[in-house]
Structures are given as C-alpha cells and as structure tokens.
C-alpha cells in the first residue's frame, strides 16, 4: 500500500518530497530551573525509522512530546513536512502517536478504536469500513475487529494502537516505548513486525526506547541521547564501530575500558601508558577529543576484538599482554570469556565454533588486540546528568 496523501497535507510539489521529514533546530526545554533539553539540532529524512535512545531521564520522551506538540519548546523550532509547528496542538500536526500504555479506548471495539480518527474526520461509512479493514489486516488483526479491547492479549493491543494511528496516514508516527511492557519473546516478534510495517508504508517512525538492542535491530538511524543533549546521530553500525564518545560506546554494545595516560602525541600515532607498558595506537582510534600529553584517557576495546592466545603463541604484530582466564561461559553461538590482565578485568567474546583452540578457565593466556581496533576516549566527567530530570 502506498501512503496516500490526505488532501489537507498535500501542498505544492517541493513539500511533497519532504512529507515525513522532521527538522529540529536549536530546541531547548526547561521547566523552571530544570533544563531537560539543551538546544538540539536534528534532521530526520522522510521515510526513515529513527530511534531516540538513551537512559531514563535523558530527555528522549521530552523530545518526542515536543515533536507531538503536547509541550512547546522553551527555545528553537520544530518543522514537520517543512512546515513550522510552533504553537500547533497535536491534533493539528500531521502525526500519529502510540503511547507507552497504548491508551486504547476501553469502551470501543477493536474496529471502533481504529475508526475513531476517521469518524472525527467525517469519512464516509463505506470508505471508513474499507480503511479500517485494510489497516487491521496490515497489523494482522483482520479477524478480531469485533473484539472488545479487554479481550485482547498484550501484543494484539499493540497492534490495535498501531492501526489506530496508521489508519489516518500520518506523515510521522511517534512511538513512546510501546514495547516496554511486553515479555521478551513477544517483544522480538513485534520489533520485526513494526519494522516491516514501517518499510511497507514508508511512514517516518520516531521510536523511543532505552533498549540499545531494540534500537539497533529496528532503526535506520539512532539518536543517542544523554543529559538532555544528542550524543550521536548515525546508523546503528556506525554508532557501534565509530562511537562519538565514551558514553555512546558504553551505552551501545559492550565495552572494555582500560584506563591509561597519554605519553606523547605525534602525527598519526598516540603513545599511551597503560597496563603492560607503553603502547602506540593509531590516531584514527581517537574518539571525539584532541589529547594532550599527560592527560588521562580510556582505551576502549569491544569484546569481539580481543583474541585469546596460548601463553607461548606469537601475537603476530598485535599488542599482547599476559593474562589469566577466569571464566569461560558458553552462550549458544558464542563463548564469553572473563579475563584478567594484571588489575584489569576484560570481557572477550569468541565464536563457539572456534572453542577447541581456546583455553579453559583457570589457564594462563596471552590477551591480544590489533592497535587499529583500540579506541581512545576522554574519560567521562563526573555524572553531569545529575542536574537533568525526566519531567517535573
């Protein structure tokens, strides 16, 4: 199905291409003395699945509610479809919203929930019936139209909430942690279903979650937020492999943090004093800061980038440190190793299929990594997030 344009939202051609785009410029939000958002800039391309990801209190829900129009920004502008949304209430914005608690109307049937927005728009009965059916089929509930809301399972309620919003064919669908109340199995099913529906309709989805795995699985692009600011806005692979700073690296995926001190900075290389002596790392591993000699830093290593070798093996040009295997845990397709290297505790992940060549728990080993895989971060400042609240 193609996302047909409601007449009211089909202006001149140049705007048409931008239907579903969001432009956030310098948006800040404060409640009294409490700053919740600090001047955000964000451009969402039409038709993308964007996730606002961050810990609770980072301002992601506030940003969503600003886009929805439930609250107005203290500063800055928000444009949807190229139109400035300043002062417009939610009902005058081309948006749909799926709430965390779904907010289905308990006194209506499934069909009437989906039909609600169409009835408000005085859509003729035959067209209304057709649309309701189309969208109930889309979410896989075509056979349950006459059910009462109380007779549905959690997953079915999700689908009703989705259909109720999508039937109005909004430019943008905002989803406020709609899957957080579901059990893992159902959650995974619905993540896939949501992504498929988004791809089929081409509607822009803005999805809020604190679950980095969910964000990585579903999104075209992720906005990583913390302390009321956007830390990084990129595709999931880019965020994983090129995190903008230590916060992002820690929040998305697992990270081994090795404290170090910068000894010298030369063109193309940084020398760092860390466990096992001085190591030269390529400057391409620097993440978002320009180090000076003597500054403390954090060397970040993803668990799958750490190799575990027998004690006498040749490291083959890699940096290698002596260590001990503390634990070896089989997790289906992968093996998870807890290692110790001096005082440093490290996590390594290897493929289970390579398990025969890998040491058992308790044995000594060499811990090796390619200098190109090491990322160098500025240490996190003392929790700056303390002054930021979720909502008053």
């Amino acid at each position: 199905m193609s996302p047909a344009q409601p007449e009211a939202l089909a202006p001149a051609a140049p705007f048409r291409a931008a239907r579903g785009s969001i432009h956030v410029a310098g948006v800040a939000k404060a409640y009294g003395a409490t700053t919740v958002l600090t001047g955000l800039d964000l451009t969402v391309e039409a038709g993308t699945f964007v996730t606002l990801l961050g810990p609770s209190g980072c301002g992601k829900t506030t940003l969503l509610r600003l886009i929805a129009g439930f609250i107005q920004p203290s500063a800055g502008k928000i444009a949807i479809d190229g139109r400035d949304m300043a002062g417009l209430p939610p009902q005058r914005r081309p948006i749909g919203m799926v709430f965390q608690n779904l907010a289905l109307f308990p006194h209506f049937s499934v069909e009437e929930n989906v039909a609600y927005g169409l009835r408000l728009r005085n859509v003729p009965e035959t067209e209304l019936r057709r649309k309701v059916k189309t969208f109930l089929d889309l979410v896989g509930l075509g056979h349950l139209g006459n059910r009462r809301i109380s007779q549905l399972s959690g997953g079915q309620k999700q689908r009703v909430a989705l259909a109720r919003s999508l039937v109005l064919e909004p430019s943008i669908l905002l989803l406020d942690e709609p899957l957080s109340a579901l059990d893992l199995q159902l959650r995974k099913q619905l993540q896939v279903a949501l992504k498929e529906i988004q791809r089929e309709l081409g509607t822009t989805f803005v999805f809020v979650t604190h679950d980095q795995e969910e964000a990585t699985l579903m999104s075209d692009r992720i906005v990583v937020m913390s302390a009321g600011a956007i830390q990084q806005y990129d595709t999931p692979p880019a965020i994983y492999s090129q995190p903008a700073n230590l916060f992002v690296a820690k929040f998305v995926g697992e990270l081994n943090e090795i404290p170090g001190r910068i000894a010298a900075v030369t063109a193309g290389t940084i020398e760092i004093d860390g466990p096992g002596g001085r190591h030269a790392l390529p400057a391409s591993g620097l993440r978002g800061f320009s180090p000076a000699a003597g500054a403390s830093c954090v060397i970040g290593l993803r668990p799958e980038r750490i190799a575990i070798l027998p004690p006498d093996a040749d490291a083959g040009g890699r940096i290698a440190l002596p260590g001990t295997v503390i634990e070896r845990i089989a997790l289906g397709p992968v093996l998870r190793f807890i290692l110790r290297c001096g005082e440093q505790r490290l996590v390594a992940v290897r493929l289970a299929s390579d398990g025969a060549a890998l040491p058992e728990a308790g044995s000594t080993c060499r811990i090796a990594f390619d200098p190109a895989d090491a990322q160098v971060f500025e240490p996190l400042a003392a929790p700056a997030a303390a002054s930021f609240g979720e909502k008053p």
Partner: protein
Amino acid sequence: MTETQPASPAKALLLLPVLVLLGLFFVSVFQLFSNGFADADGWSLRYFRQILNRSDYQVIFARTILSSLTVALLSVALSYPIALLLWRLERWRNTLLIVVLVPWLVSLVVRTYGWLVLLGPKGVINGMLAWTGIVHQPLALMFNDLGIVIGLTHVLIPFAVISILSSLLAIESNLEEASGVLGASRFQTFRRIVLPLSLPGAFTALIVIFLASIGAIVTPIVLGGMSHQFVGSQIYQEVMYTFNLNKAAAWSICLLAISFLSLLLLKAIERRLIGTLE
C-alpha cells in the same frame, strides 16, 4: 498459602458475626412480613387494601417515587460538573473533596432544620428576594415537594460526587491525549471518551441516591410538613403516633417492593443505555 486449609473450630468462629447479622436481618424481615399480613384470625391483605385503596395514600406513593427520581437526576446533574472539576484540579482534589463532604460532619436533622431557616416564608432566601423587590409575596419554598427535593438533594449530592469522581479517576491517564492526537477537539474528547467512560459512575450514583431518597424520613417530616408525606415519614407516623404496627409493616413491605422493582428497572435501563453508547 495453600488453597485448601484444614477447617478449624477457631476459623468457624469468624463466621459468627456474619451469622448473627444475617439472623437479625431475617428475623426482622420475617417479623415485618408476619405483621404486615397478619390479622386477628390468620393471614389477610387487609392492611394492604387499606393503604392501596386510599387516594391520599396513592399521592404519597407517587410523591415518594417522583420526588426521589427528581432528587436522583438533580443530584447527578449538579454533581457531574463538581466531579469534573475535582478530577481536573489534581492539586486541589483532596482539599475540595473535604469541602464536598463537610456537610456530612453535621447531623442530618441539624442540616435539615438549617434549611428551614433558609427556605421559610420569613427565611433568608425569601427575605433577600423581598428586599431586592423581585417578589412581593414570599415564595412557597418549603412544606411542599420543592422543599423536600431541595433538602434531599443537598443531603445526597456527596454520594454522586464521589461515585462520578471515582469513575473519572479510573479513566486511563492519556486517553485524552490519544484522542487529541487522533484529531478530536476537547469537546469531542469529552463527549466520545470521558462522558461514556464516566457514565457507569453517574448511573450508580443515580441508583444509590434514588434508593436512599425513597426511604427518607427526616427530610420529608421537617421540610414537607404535615401535608406532604413520604412513604418513610408515613411509616414513622404509623409507628410513633398511631401505634399501628401492622399498617406500618404493610407500608414497609410496599416500600421494599418499590425499591426492589425500581432497582431492577434502573439496572435494565443502565445496561441498555451504556450498551448503546459503545
């Protein structure tokens, strides 16, 4: 905790208060019925005939039912906006709720006599109306059905406020936001979402107040005067002044029957009404 616990004599003791209450209830109802149907030589419908055949008594029945219905409708209509206000003013809700309930701190009799002061021919309201020149003859605000309705509505309104407020509070917090995003104006949201979802509370209030009003005694006696009796106040008179316990019992059985039938009727209407709104 297991589902089946061994029965112990100590636990059986817990049933005792319930049994005592049930026993008293059935004994008194039995007493009531035996009094109502009694006669010098066995059973008869004598007292019922005495009541139902007299036209002045039929007026009392009609007054009781119609006034109670008016009181119930008026209470719900007046308290709906109050409940809505309490629902909206989250910060002031508890304080305002106390204000709504304060009349209950004063005895019913005292409050009803208070209305005499307000409603009498030389009372506060007529005094003000005469002083402003709106009326020249004092309005008859009491010793009639109007007085009874005013008094009972005042007494019973808090029930309606609480009942409606509780059904408003049961509405999920962001249904209104959801309705707004889907394009509804504030009025449409009220009419299609808030009102239907609060209707069960309003209807419960209607039923409770109707039943409470239909059995009223004090208010009709004080504000209705001698000429405007309710069934309840008539029973009171039969017991306290004419000492005709058999007739009082017959009255009571009639009242019980009316209450019971109205309850069934109102419940049927409720099902129908709330059914159609969905």
